[in-house]
Amino acid sequence: MSKQWSRSLRVVVGIASAAVVAGSLSACGNSSDSNGDTVYFGVSGPKSGASAEYGRLWQQGFDLAIDQVNAAGGINGKKVALKWEDSQSDPKQTVPIATKFVGDNSIIAELGDFSSPASIAASPVYNRGKLVQYGFTNSSTEFTKGGEYSWSPSITLDTFQDRNTQWVQSKAKKVSVVYLETDWGKEAFKYFQQFAQQRGIEIAYSSSILPDSQDFRPVLIKGRDANPDAFVHLGYGPDGALVVKQLRDVGYNGQFFGGQNTPQFIQLAGAAAEGDIVNGVFSPSDTNPKVQDFVTKFRAKYNTDPGDFNVYAYDAINVLVQAAKSGGATREGVLKGLREVKNFSGIGLGDSFAFNQQTRRPDGVKPIELLLKNGAFVPTGSK
């Protein structure tokens, strides 16, 4: 009897303590910094998983910007630091992270996440918690509709594809297109189709490609057989590199539009991508002294050229710091700053811009045409 009893007791204690442990898992991880000398930006971004590469590029941009901000006295004397949470850019994980950030009073604004769905899933939490969610790579037109706390400097996909078709039009009348089978890729293709029709570009063949595919030859063979004047890829760097290399393998040597303005894409694609045209916000060969200063410092710190994603991250910190300097180093201060400051500046976003208060995105920022020449993206000067 007593043995039976002690066993039952152990079960009860076991279940109860497991439940309590689960409930208070985080209580320890949530000690907010109360000394007030440092303010934090929460970063929800990929550090592991398929998008980890972008998290690494962000980190470089963030670190450089934060070093400079703190060297220049921080935000009204307060130091700036980051609190990273690895989300794997997975919509399932961004929600608990958002809850954690909202509950941590030392955090005055959030940066990320990488993909629009991951950000959009967390938007309700940030908006209810009144914490600015600065989705600086979220080009989906849906993202900033999440609420008055969801902001993004990212150029929206419609603008991107409007410009993209403009470049395509000057080289081709008939194209084959591959695009990523993700919300981003499909939305990009939708706008591409729309603007291609307006500009009289015929889409001879199109297919989506799955993000985890490695061998695109069957699709590329069919696209090649449609006899296009140019081949268009709407996606990211690694898949763009595979597409352009395999395109050359199946014997297509015509004009390629695609890939991404990152050193990684250039390195992965190698000679196959020579002559490639992309949309970008930034080129290391830009002669603007402010840009050259940034490029020099970036090279000194990381021994490599910066790409778009380094610039996005670098600019994101600077914009939020500017906003906090103006509105105050608090959550409401950041929001106030984003609303009121009219002369934000950045490397990729131009020297002076303000946010449109309806869309919570900057107006009038346009991507530029970049041509891959001798292993570097250079601006063509097209307007």
Binding site: V11, V12, I15, A16, A18, A19, V20, V21, A22, G23, S24, L25, S26, A27, G29, N30, K47, S48, G49, A50, A52, E53, R56, E85, D86, P91, K92, V95, P96, V102, G103, P117, A121, P124, R128, V178, E181, T182, D183, K186, S207, I209, L210, Q214, D215, R217, P218, V219, I221, P238, A241, K245, Q246, D249, V250, G251, Q264, Q267, L268, G270
Partner: protein, 611 residues
């Protein structure tokens, strides 16, 4: 057309090399090695490191990579698989999942996560037939596949150790009695298979021209499909299966586009399992015993949990946790509960009926999408939508799974995995209703009779009630006559059939009930996330459900709840060490499976039952 043929052959050849490794390990140890993809990726990254970073010549890189990956393979066997030889086969499978996670993330930590160009040590497009180019690398790879196949065949046919491998594959116990060191033979099989995986890593890296530490999972799954199509356990079958899969994929993708790739690959798997379960070369049924069944029940006795124990636990969970925990803890709690609901219902299938299903992301996705589409596009209220979610999940899953019940143990498990992936692929491609890859935004929070469950605490308490209902239903069923019949099937299917129990019908019924609650769980997840897209319902989700089940003890509903607490709580608790999070999670999983293979809430029998 001819180009596509060449492209398919070249790619199929790569699948074949991987499938040979998977099929060899399966033949000898009866374990589906989910770490094989990670080994492949490790081989390709190591090859890159040696050649691109240290200027090693190709032949030296091949020798080192094959040697190192073979050692890693032995490590997996010794640390993860062999200690579980007497445990249910599913434990060893989960141990390989854990080992794969650890290898993949350690490789990413050491070498960096980024995709890199693989050096072009052999020309990849110097030949031209028709419009398509291929290179010396492809010819060399093809020659290697052929020689590997012939070599392995000769080794198995004539070699002393080959004979031992075959004997072990046929009957490990008899082999042991004949003086064969079964453990060493298993390690040998792991060494050969993993070395081949590493070799494949180099050549596929060369063929794709880019490599990354995370490329393994998709390659591993595809290799596994190829092995199954060829006939699990048959080496010529694996080669043939790889080439057939390569060709079908190439022509399928050529015709329909790459967006249909997973539908084509896993659709082919399901079609094969239904029409020709033994694969192309193996005679069905290739596997006589059903290693994934029965053994669960023999290995231990459930700890008893009385109703008032549960009541106390629920009272604590419902009242104390919201009081002591912060918002973040509660949001983790809501995830735990949603998975607990799913896992509890699965105990009826996996535990009672002894039939493991590893594609539960399918029914979960059906439930989530039904509920989301009905509330967002058709303005339904939450309550009818969640009930509809359960019903649709149960009906659709039952229809899809209907042809499976005449198959045996392993094959059903594999087929459910395929069906799970096919279901999600169908959802993605049925864009007019499901919005496909765009995902569904703005799913309203749960609402009952005008009350909206907005905060995490409210959702937590709602889910706690649903979990209590689920537990009551499942426990009630286990104790009813129906439960006895289902348990009889799990204990001994042949005996149950002889006693007049309609085995197939009961299995299908148990599966339908589990799918109903999985649909409910999926609906709760959808309303809690407010956003879903097809990538949410991926293979890791299915594996998570299985892991929760096994951890709790497959037949124990309370154990399933505890399993959900541990397995969803652990990665969140490990956020303290963000860089090592997934590696540590893999270690925790490995240790738990290693030391409690029979489940947390199951007591080991004092007299060891040797299966």
């Amino acid at each position: 057309m001819f180009d596509t043929l060449i492209a398919g052959l070249v790619h199929g050849n790569a699948y074949a090399l991987i499938a040979v490794g998977i099929t060899l390990i399966f033949g000898v140890t009866n374990v589906i090695n989910f770490a094989h993809g990670a080994i492949f990726a490790f081989g390709s990254v190591l090859g890159w490191w040696l050649i691109a970073q240290h200027g090693a010549p190709l032949w030296a890189a091949i020798i080192v990579v094959v040697g190192v990956t073979a050692l890693v393979g032995v490590g997996i066997d010794v640390l993860a698989v062999r200690p579980l030889r007497r445990a249910p086969a599913i434990s060893a499978l989960l141990a390989t999942v854990a080992a794969g996670l650890i290898i993949e993330n350690v490789v990413a930590l050491i070498f960096g996560p980024e995709t890199r160009p693989f050096p072009e040590v052999l020309s990849t497009n110097n030949f031209r037939v028709g419009g398509v180019r291929f290179g010396t690398s492809d010819v060399v790879m093809f020659a290697i596949t052929i020689s590997v196949m012939v070599g392995l065949w000769a080794f198995l046919r004539f070699g002393r150790y080959g004979l031992a491998i075959r004997a072990t594959a046929q009957d490990p116990d008899a082999a042991a009695q004949m003086g064969i060191s079964v453990g060493r033979i298993q390690s040998l099989a792991f060494a050969i298979a993993s070395g081949l995986g590493g070799l494949a890593g180099i050549f596929v890296g060369l063929y794709n021209s880019n490599i990354s530490p995370t490329s393994g999972s998709i390659v591993g799954m595809t290799g596994f499909v190829a092995a199954t199509i060829g006939g699990l356990g048959s080496i010529p079958g694996a080669v043939l299966g790889g080439i057939v899969l390569g060709l079908v994929e190439a022509f399928g993708i050529y015709t329909f586009g790459d967006g249909y790739r997973d539908l084509i690959t896993f659709g082919l798997l399901v079609v094969f399992l239904v029409l020709r379960p033994g694969g192309l070369l193996a005679r069905p049924p290739a596997i006589e015993s059903e290693p994934l069944t029965g053994t669960f029940l023999g290995s231990g006795r459930l700890l008893r949990v009385r109703w008032w124990h549960a009541l106390i636990a629920f009272a604590i969970a419902g009242l104390v946790i919201p009081a002591v925990s912060n918002d973040y803890g509660i949001s983790v709690g809501t995830q735990i509960l949603a998975y607990a609901i799913i896992a509890v219902s699965m105990t009826l299938v996996a535990g009672s009926a002894g039939q493991l299903a590893i594609g539960q992301a399918g029914p979960i996705a059906i439930g989530a999408y039904t509920s989301a589409v009905l509330t967002v596009s058709h303005g339904w209220a939450f309550l009818p939508a969640i009930i509809a979610a359960g019903i649709v999940a149960a009906v659709v899953s039952s229809v899809l799974a209907a042809p499976l019940w005449r198959l045996g143990g392993h094959y059903v498990a594999i087929a459910t995995l395929g069906i799970g992936i096919v279901t999600v692929a169908l959802i993605r491609n049925w864009e007019s209703v499901t919005r496909g890859s765009y995902g569904i935004f703005g799913i309203p929070p749960p609402e009952l009779f005008g009350f909206e469950f907005v905060t995490h605490t409210q959702i937590f308490q709602l889910e706690l009630v649903v979990l209590a209902i689920t537990l009551a239903v499942i426990l009630g069923m286990q104790r009813s006559r129906l439960g006895t019949a289902i348990r009889a099937i799990g204990a001994d299917e042949v005996a149950a059939r002889s006693a007049g129990v309609p085995v197939r019908d009961y299995k299908a019924l148990a599966f339908a009930i589990a799918a109903f609650f999985s649909g409910i769980g999926g609906s709760l997840l959808a309303h809690q996330y407010s956003y879903i897209d097809p990538t949410v319902f991926n293979l890791p989700m299915s594996l998570l459900v299985v892991t929760i089940l096994v951890l709790g003890g497959t037949a124990s509903p309370y154990g399933a709840v505890l399993g959900a607490v541990v397995l969803i709580g652990a990665p969140e608790a490990l956020r303290l060490a963000p860089e090592l999070r997934i590696v540590l999670y893999g270690l925790v999983l490995l240790l738990v499976v290693r030391f409690r293979p029979q489940g947390i809430l199951v007591r080991r029998e004092r007299v060891r039952v040797t299966a």
